[in-house]
Amino acid sequence: MRAIHYREIEGSGGFWALVGLLALLLAAGLTAAYFMEHIGHIITGMTNQVVWGMPHVFAVFLIVAASGALNTASIASVFGRVAYKPLARLSGLLAIALLIGGLAILVLDLGRPDRLGVAMTHYNFRSIFAWNIFLYTGFIAVTGCYLWVMMERRLNRHSRTVGTVAFLWRLILTTGTGSIFGLLMARKPYDEAIMAPMFIVMSLAFGLAIFILVLMAACRAGARPLGEATLMRLKNLLGVFAAGLLYFLLVFHLTKLYEAKFFGAEAFILWSGGPYTVLFWFGVVFLGGVLPMLLFWLPPTRRSRAAVGWGSASVVVGGLALVYDIIIGGQAWPLSIFPGMQVSSSFYDGVVGFYAPSLPECALGLGGCALALLITLLGLKLLPFLPETLADEGN
């Protein structure tokens, strides 16, 4: 086992162009947040029917992916798979970057973001949100420590311990994120305990997909050879996670279909919901699961590096579609205050909630993504996160 040398990537014209572009996106997001805070949420598409919109789709996606991005490092430190060790530092950096991006979106979308201090000092511990505040900020701290013991040679012997803490922390964190929806008994599309483990599998899939894309891009930008063995290993793992996600979705929807009271909500997502149905079958099932598995394992493409990239991108798109369906599709389906009855009122009772993403919301969401990528890029530039080579040994 040869020693791994890590090195910062060098800046180049392309690098700084990308940084500039991301900074512009971030500025757009901050501008959107400014107007949302000053004028109010009236400029967004969020209403009293659909109270969480695109910002939350992006934020939840980023936070779920952040937890999963750390998986590669966990496999190395906690499960002792030496082959993943060179990837561990980048994994940690990406986890922190994605989480900060997601949190930034959430905080800036609050109705009163100026009351963040209140949120930090007043806690209702029966609320999963309150726990999540600790879990998210703690995750940054724990992963920071993890990176530190990985990067400081004298502390390397603590990698296993800190890595295990980080691993358990992210399981609890993702369970908490899934429980935000899973514990809501008021809404038919939610109210399922399986959402917690489903979110964990989602995190594994989305996090690894983003990790692969960032790894491939970083190796190309830094002129680091990326060995076939490493890439194929990651590809197979992502295929397994995508299959796992399809399995959880199957169990989730089958369970709901079995109960008569959930039938209406399920029918809405699965066949009568218009855009939500299209997003589910084409976005989530096909792009998020079936296509990646085909690309990763069918003979014509299974050795292709491009296929790995496209497959990962497909998982990311499918992941966004899934989070959109969960958050927005779940709110669009009307509350059933009078089960079995037809209802109508001046407050949109009984009708499917209308929602269309607005520019400020998308700008804010993309701004958060840009922030995550900026942190990753600048981290790669300033500190040695990327190994000098990831070529296969013995080549």
């Binding site: 100026d114 000092t121 007043h122 806690y123």
Partner: protein
């Protein structure tokens, strides 16, 4: 060594910025003059002025917690109660805008540069019987609670001074 001018210059700038609260008065157009606080109605406030200057926030926080969480509503010690004495119509017959220096709270708060956002939600007008009908556009809504903001109802002075009322009585959530 050739960076020394830059470093020293940066340090000087930092020092200047950190001491800004002490010298910026010389630059301000009021020349550092104390704010002109509008006169209030009535003989005296619910607390001595010196005490209020220092502790009004604590009083407001306690009254806020009691009123919202415990339903203990003391007419004189409430935001409308304060406004009842401290806010009057201007010469043109209108109430002062929250952002203007003629508004009682803002007169000091603008001077010290501490933003208050009470009035993003709370009405900045005193409430009175006749005022309610006029403010609601002519049609009288169901009767407002009788004594909110009524300056005529003054609670008895607490024995033992007002500071005892605050010590150790902070709302439970304040302990975090």
């Amino acid at each position: 060594m050739r960076d020394r001018p830059v470093i020293l210059g940066g340090l000087a700038l930092l020092l200047l910025l950190l001491t800004a609260p002490f010298w910026h008065d010389a630059l301000s157009h009021t020349g550092g003059a104390l704010p002109a606080i509008p006169r209030a109605k009535g003989a005296h406030c619910v607390r001595p002025a010196a005490w209020m200057r220092k502790n009004h926030m604590k009083l407001l926080m306690r009254v806020r917690y009691e009123a919202v969480h415990e339903g203990i509503r003391n007419r004189q010690e409430s935001l409308p109660g304060c406004l009842g004495c401290h806010v009057s119509k201007l010469a043109d017959g209108k109430y002062p805008s929250v952002r203007s220096r003629k508004f009682f709270c803002n007169a000091c708060h603008e001077y010290v540069g501490v933003r208050i956002d009470c009035f993003s939600c709370h009405s900045n007008r005193p409430v009175s019987g006749a005022g309610i009908v006029a403010q609601s556009g002519g049609e009288a809504p169901p009767a407002a609670p009788a004594a909110i903001g009524n300056p005529a109802i003054v609670p008895p002075r607490r024995a033992g001074g007002s500071s005892t009322a605050l010590r150790g009585r902070e709302a439970p959530w304040r302990w975090l």
